[in-house]
Each structure stands twice: as C-alpha cells, then as structure tokens.
Amino acid sequence: MLTPRTELDTRLDATARTWLDHALTEATTRQPAWETRFATAGRHCGRHNADPVRALLLTAARPDPPTLTRLYHHGSAAERRALLLALPHLDSLTPPTAALPLVEDALRTNDTRLIAAALGPYAAQHLDAHSWRHAILKCLFTGVPLDTVADLEHRARGDRELARMLTDYTAERTAAGRTTPPDLTRVQTLTGEPPKET
C-alpha cells in the first residue's frame, strides 16, 4: 500500500515536510537532484518513514527501466528495499516485467529484508513458476514469514512441483532431526488444494 502524502505529513515535522515538498517537485520534474533525495530520505524524514517517502518519490519521478535499475544497483540495502516495495505502484515500466531482474537479484541475496520486499504483488504477478517456487523455499530456509509473500494462496494452490519440493525439504529436515516449520506445513497443505478460478 502506498502511504498517502496526507498521512505521511502527520508523521513528519515541519522541516521534513518542507524537505519532502522540494523533493517531490524535483522528482516530478525529474531534476537530477531527486536521486540524491531518494538516497538521503532516511536522515531527513526519519528512518521509519524512509520506505513510504522513497515510494512517493518513485511514483512522482516515474523512472524508466534503465533509471530504476541504476537506482537499485547504486542503492544501499534500505534504498533497494524501498524500491522493491514500490514496484507494484510504478506504472512507468515498459515492458511491465522490466524490473524482474531486480527482484531476482534481491532473491539471490541472504538479506531477509530484501527477500521479503521482493515477494510483493509485483513478484506474484510476474515471477515465473520456477523462480517463485525457489523463492518460497528460500523463505522457509531463511525464516522469512510466508505471510509476507503476496498472493501465496493463489499461486501455491495445486502446484504439484512445489509440493514435491516441500516434501523433499521435509524429508531432509526430518533426516537431520530438525523440526518442520509451521509455514512449511501450511504451504504444503495449500499445494494439495485445487486452484481457484480467478
């Protein structure tokens, strides 16, 4: 969910609101300085507001895929996370799958903040079946709660290949004398249910 400017304003002091005014103007008119604003949002608006502020800047700037890709690769972990969270709100991507390599990059990391942020509605819509299944396994492996995975029910239902992977993973854990995480059982159950019409 994109946090509306009005709601953000209630969390920001006057200095931060003014900073955000200027930042959004620069982003909308795509002055180069907006990218520095994107990087420095944490210290100007507070670390806890950085994600929604960066999302607003991205939706205002509507970066093309090369710009978005550069922002991601030049970003700190916090910037990358914010960008991944904002993907479903960006209507400037042509083709719409242009940001998939960024999602795949995040899913290759072991940073649970990035893995979780990568598995939002954008990944649910665009990630191919093989990558999505591996992402689910990676969540189970690294302890990212499956509640953070967008559209989990829809994509997992009736997925027999995912069911096989989960069965093998359960066998591996059992052989090692380890417990089976509740999320594994939960998604395993989903795979046994018939797909729903959408």
Partner: protein
C-alpha cells in the same frame, strides 16, 4: 558497560565475533573502508566492497543487536595504484548514503605524491558532504607522517574539530592534541597500543576527545579490545562515567558530527527459526 567501537573491519570477522562483541557490551560500531590485504585491481572491486558496507554487513550486525555505520574512501595504500584511483570519481554517490558517517580511512601509507593528492581530494569531499574525516596516521615513520598529515588538514576546508586522527601512540599524542583534532587509539597486538599503556595515557591526557578502537581486521587482532580497555580503566580507578565517555559518548559525539548517526539498534526482522546467517551455506 555499553561500548561503541569506532573502528573495526567486520567484513573480516565471523558471526562468533559479533556474538562475543554483543556479550561484551558492544552495541554500535563504525567500519571504515580500507584495503583487503590482497590488492584490488579495479574500481569495480571497491564498488562491491562499499555496497557490502551499505548492505550485507549492517544486516549481519543487526542480527546480533549491533548498529553498523561505515566510512567510505580510497585508502592510502591503494591511492598509489593507478588501477584503483578512478574510484575517487565514484565516491560522491556513496558519500550521500544515510549510514555513511565519515570519509575514511584516509591519510598516509608511504607518504607519496599520489597519497598527497588522494588525501587532499578526500578532505575536500568530506567538507563538501558535511562529513567528518577519519585520518589514520602511517605505521612507518609515524611522527613525520603526522606532521605532514596535519599540514594537509590545515590547508583543507575541513576544520580540525571534524577530524579524527587514528592509530596514535605515546610519540604522537602531544602534537595530535595540539592540532585540535579528535584522538584515536587502536588496541592492536604488537604494532599499536595495548590496554595498560592506554590507561596510562588516559591518566595523563584525560578522557576528552579520545576514542579507543580495536581496529580488528584480517590480521592478528581482537574485536573485544575495547572491552579490555574498559575493564582496565575501572581496575585503574576510573569511574563508570569515564569509561562511558571514552567508549560510548566520545564516538557518538564525533561521528554524530555527520548528522547521520542512529545508534538505537534496529531489532532484527522477526524470524520463525534461526536466520539466514546461522543457517548459512545456501
């Protein structure tokens, strides 16, 4: 005892170290960019390293309840390698990042003209980005190196009260104090300070504007050296408040000059079982 290690190279350390550091009271640290032991051959190698200081390493630290900030620079040793110096042009995009709290480590290694250029250029970058600078003093010919360092600082736009001179010892502390810079001491076996000499020095020079670090890296070093100094100070009769000033408040005041320091440790993300580091090996 709460401890801020103002200079430690965590990319070279293990998760066991993070655990032991947290147990010892370390809740915050600054990781200065430096060389890797093995020479780099291109700016791209620096980019990956800087990205780790802004991404993976803070994540690892957070798993153990430790706030991680960094300093970014081209180090003095590799400032002599023309394959590496183009990274200077890329530094500005790193110096704006939220968790970068200084330019560093800069300074002298062999005191060459190339090091003169890199030091002056990066002091200027610090001034332009509202950042303080972590300036190390050379391991060889240290006193002469300090004098030359202070000359370059005086010629720069960065005021001395925004400079931390590091790796100081008994032979350099007087001149460093007179300069008005902050004073850093590394507790490092064989080549730098030890905790007993540090206590003696604190008795003479007081606890103001003095920072103590482990400088722990890939060499023989101890990430708990700061704690050993705290214990030695208490044994020697310093108060808890003295220890807190040297090992916590002084680093916070110095790196706080950046306006970017956030020492309230972000709790690690909620995990159902273990975490990606402890499970490792993917």
């Amino acid at each position: 005892m709460r401890i801020f290690d103002p200079h430690i190279h965590m990319t070279s350390r293990t998760t066991d170290d993070y655990q032991a550091m947290h147990t010892a009271g370390i809740r915050a640290l600054v990781e200065p960019a430096f060389w890797l032991g093995q020479p780099r051959t291109s700016p791209a190698s620096f980019h990956d390293y800087f990205d780790a200081l802004l991404g993976w390493e803070p994540f690892r630290a957070a798993q153990y309840g430790i706030a991680h900030h960094c300093t970014i620079a081209l180090n003095p040793k590799e400032a002599n390698d023309p394959r590496c110096t183009p990274v200077l042009e890329e530094l500005p995009r790193y110096l704006v990042k939220d968790s970068v709290v200084a330019v560093g480590e800069i300074g002298y290694d062999s005191m060459t003209p190339a090091e003169d250029t890199a030091l002056a250029a990066q002091l200027q970058l610090a001034a332009e980005h509202g950042l303080p600078a972590l300036v190390h003093t050379p391991h060889r010919d240290k006193l002469a190196g300090l004098h030359r360092t202070l000359d370059v600082i005086r010629e720069s736009d960065l005021p001395p009260e925004r400079v931390l001179l590091d790796h100081l010892n008994e032979t350099t502390v007087e001149h460093a104090t007179d300069s008005g810079c902050w004073l850093g001491f590394s507790i490092y076996p064989d080549t730098k300070m030890d905790e007993d000499r540090m206590v003696t020095l604190l008795r003479t020079h007081g606890t103001e504007k003095i920072l103590v670090n482990s400088a722990a890296d890939w060499g023989k070093s101890d990430p708990l050296a700061t704690r050993r100094v705290g214990d030695a100070m208490l044994t020697a009769g310093f108060t808890d408040d003295d220890v807190d000033q040297v090992l916590w408040r002084n680093p916070i005041t110095f790196y706080g000059l950046s306006g970017r320091l956030q020492v309230d440790t972000t709790p690690p993300p909620p995990l159902h079982q273990g975490n990606s580091i402890l499970r490792g090996g993917e």
